[in-house]
């Protein structure tokens, strides 16, 4: 039966199990929107700006382990998605962005609302397609879902000229075919596993350093059909068998229990003292699904100078990219853990190593001086954890100091519960991402932790909260500054605060009120806990504006270009 392109689009999405689309209509994409009207199953979430659609789709994807789908029109609608697509690329999140395009006969003519999206997004997508014929539409959509979710996941853009949507063709069902060029390696080589096991056998002071690859393995299994491999369970088992200390990167938080005694905290620029000292002093580093990002390694010349390194990654190009390693294993994190455990890891007595770690730990690097006069941001996050730890709570953040305090003081215990922009560091990510997380399941408890500056960067998405009537809980650590940039100015620019003070801050209470969101504010540290309870217990969407100490810095901190053993610890030493 011949179907219109727009009908094929909807049929293909449904066959792929899509239930939600985040989007914003415009002229050339109207054939699809018109068709969506007739459909009851596919839910369309109308955002207020297209960048919000991509971040919402990221939150949806990250919290569910499903593909996030975005639908926008051509030209400005499409170019507004570029930041979100780049964010998804940096954090390996499967998002498929369908962008409308002017009719085929107008492409290249500088037509109204024409933009070369394939060209613009080439370096920031895993792959992209310009569809030229309606008969290719279904096949390419199925292929895009395969490419986005297998191997190292990532964003895919599909450009849809208007005539492709109005033209007709036969529908092509989803079939399992081996892609002719793209075949990611998921199962590791046995000889590499043996080499890794040999290094583990010799180690006296090992550390496991995990990245977002463990969570992607948990959610997508590298793309292996019907795989039961559970990377999070296997990681837990591996740590139990080996008694090794473990540290996580920012995107990996939650893949290992934050309350477990083997967990040293996050590593890197704002990681804990014990995690970074252990990374520096170890004799074996097992890097699992992380990429030795510069926020983790800092100065690569001084990075973990005396260790052998095993690097496990599904992306071959990550191995030996930043740090030369002794054994590189290409494969899915879960599959590699399974092989390591099955083959049999021989471990040593690490009690001397643990003694050294406990000395570092006893520094208690996250302690801070609380106050009765002014609210300390660290206290806010500690209280947040105390009040929400017994519930299944999803946390999203924006980017900046509040993000680091959340990473440091909130103990993430479950996978896929922490939505934050890591590689790209996108201010404005948090609000739409938290919306996507809550839209995925409206019974969830979803909390957005934001700074006052980043909250304003996609603040228009409060309109989406209003329209969808979702009970989003927002908390703003308000210091009237771009806090993290100010911190860099305080430390490295002799406190010259060029353009970082938010002198003209709107009345956030009135803004919330305008969107029918209950707003609370707190300035007195003695009232903090009660206000937070009131904020959390309210049924609908609620915003809590917390006036915090503007002079607080995030510590520990490794200044850019320094080594792990040269951390700044603030006033604690």
């Amino acid at each position: 039966m011949l179907l219109k392109g727009a009908e094929i689009f909807i049929k293909a999405l449904k066959e792929q199990g899509v239930d939600t689309i985040f989007g914003y209509p415009g002229a050339v994409i109207l054939p699809i929107y018109d068709e969506l009207l007739k459909d009851d199953e596919l839910k369309h979430i109308l955002v207020r700006q297209e960048s919000g659609a991509v971040h919402a789709a990221e939150g949806y994807a990250k919290s569910t382990g499903k593909v996030g789908v975005v639908l926008v029109t051509s030209g400005p609608g499409a170019t507004n998605t570029v930041t979100g697509i780049t964010d998804a690329m940096m954090d390996s999140i499967p998002v498929i962005c369908f962008s409308g395009q002017v009719a085929s006969n107008l492409i290249g003519n500088d037509a109204f609302q024409e933009a070369d999206m394939i060209g613009i997004t080439r370096p920031s997508t895993k792959h992209s397609y310009l569809i030229k014929d309606t008969k290719d539409l279904a096949r390419i959509i199925h292929e895009a879902f395969y490419v986005a979710t297998t191997g190292r996941p990532g964003p895919v853009l599909i450009d849809l000229p208007k005539d492709v949507l109005t033209g007709v063709a036969e529908y092509t069902p989803k079939i399992d075919i081996k892609h002719k060029t793209y075949n990611p390696k998921i199962i590791p080589d046995v000889d590499k596993i043996d080499e890794a096991i040999q290094l583990i056998k010799e180690a006296k002071a090992p550390i496991i350093y995990c990245g977002g690859g463990v969570l992607n393995s948990y959610a997508f299994k590298g793309g292996l059909k019907n795989s039961k491999t559970d990377s999070v369970e296997l990681l837990k088992e591996f740590v139990k068998i080996t008694n090794m200390p473990i540290t996580l990167t920012l995107p990996a938080l939650g893949c290992f229990d934050g309350e477990d005694e083997h967990f040293l905290g996050m590593c890197g620029m704002h990681g804990t003292y014990e995690a970074n000292m252990a990374m520096h002093g170890c004799d074996l580093m097992i890097c699992l699904g992380a990429r030795f990002d510069d926020r983790v390694t800092s100065n690569i010349k001084g990075f973990s100078p005396n260790s052998k390194k095993i690097h496990i990654d599904i992306d071959k190009s990550s191995i030996n990219k930043n740090i030369m390693v002794d054994v590189g294993i290409v494969g899915d994190a879960g599959e590699v853990l399974k092989e390591l455990i099955k083959t049999g890891v021989k471990v040593n007595d690490y009690s001397d190593w643990w003694k050294r770690i406990e000395t570092w730990r006893s520094m208690n690097c996250l302690r801070y001086k609380d106050s009765d006069e002014i609210i300390k941001p660290q206290k806010v996050i500690e209280t947040l954890y105390e009040l929400t730890k017994d519930k299944d709570t999803y946390i999203a953040t924006e980017v900046g100091q509040h993000q680091m305090w959340t990473a440091q003081y909130y103990k993430f215990r479950k996978p896929l519960h922490f939505m934050t922009s890591c590689g790209l560091g996108t201010m404005g990510y948090g609000l739409p991402s938290s919306i996507g997380t809550l839209i995925a399941d409206r019974t969830r408890t979803v909390i957005l932790v934001a700074g006052d500056s980043s909250f304003q960067m996609n603040i228009q998405e409060l309109g989406t909260v209003l329209q969808e009537q979702i009970p989003l809980k927002m908390i703003i650590l308000n210091n009237h500054f771009m806090g993290m940039v100010k911190q860099h100015q305080d430390l490295f620019y002799q406190k010259r605060h060029a353009s970082t003070k938010m002198d003209a801050q709107p009345d956030l209470m009135k803004i919330a009120d305008a969107y029918n969101i209950k707003a609370l504010s707190v300035k007195n540290p003695l009232e903090l806990k009660d206000k937070m309870k009131e904020w959390l217990n309210h049924d609908g969407a609620t915003l809590l504006n917390v006036m915090i100490d503007e002079n607080e810095h995030v510590y520990p901190m490794i200044p850019a270009g320094q080594s792990h053993n040269t951390m700044l610890l603030g006033g604690l030493k």
């Binding site: 895993k126 002719k180 060029t181 793209y182 071959k316 990219k321």
Partner: protein, 166 residues
């Protein structure tokens, strides 16, 4: 580590934008392209072969190869400069414009290089020379005093020696 020239062969699906993806990867990551050749090699299967020369340490080139392998329409990537070394050839067209008294010298050099005369007028001559890039470089040097006017070079094509294939 030693920086040297490497030749990389890439087998790709002949689809729109594939060359842009490969070349964009080089420019986006700051790798240099010294030489680039691309042509369809199998019309039925829709395959093209891209040959790129670049300079870098072995580690950097290994990284470039891994990055290219990530591109979805790429079938195979091979660093042709590692063992065994490959056969590399280039074709060049070289035009000289000279007085008749110099022409004999030019023709003699062309003979020595087994260059073909593909166009001759009273004032000019176009030679076609095939070989390793170094051979073409030498030929060009020798033609300079004889009225060298224009050069076009094809860029490298390369195949592995022996039974090894991409």
């Amino acid at each position: 580590m030693e920086i040297k020239s490497h030749t990389i062969s890439i087998l790709v699906d002949n689809e729109a934008g594939v060359l842009g993806r490969v070349v964009g990867l080089f420019s986006g990551r700051g790798y240099n392209i010294e030489n680039l050749t691309v042509a369809v090699i199998d019309k039925e299967k829709g395959l093209s072969r891209i040959t790129i020369s670049t300079t870098g340490t072995d580690i950097i080139v290994e990284q470039i190869v891994a990055q290219i392998e990530r591109i979805v329409p790429v079938h195979r990537v091979l660093n042709m400069t590692v063992n065994p070394p490959s056969v590399e050839r280039e074709i060049a067209l070289i035009k000289i414009i000279c007085e008749p008294r110099l022409r004999n010298d030019a023709l003699q050099i062309a003979n020595a290089f087994r260059a073909d005369k593909v166009d001759i007028t009273n004032e000019s001559c176009v030679f076609q020379v095939v070989g390793k890039p170094s051979k073409i470089d030498t030929f060009v040097e020798l033609m300079k005093p004889l009225g060298l006017a224009e050069i076009d070079r094809s860029g490298l094509v390369a195949l592995s020696r022996g039974t090894k294939v991409i």
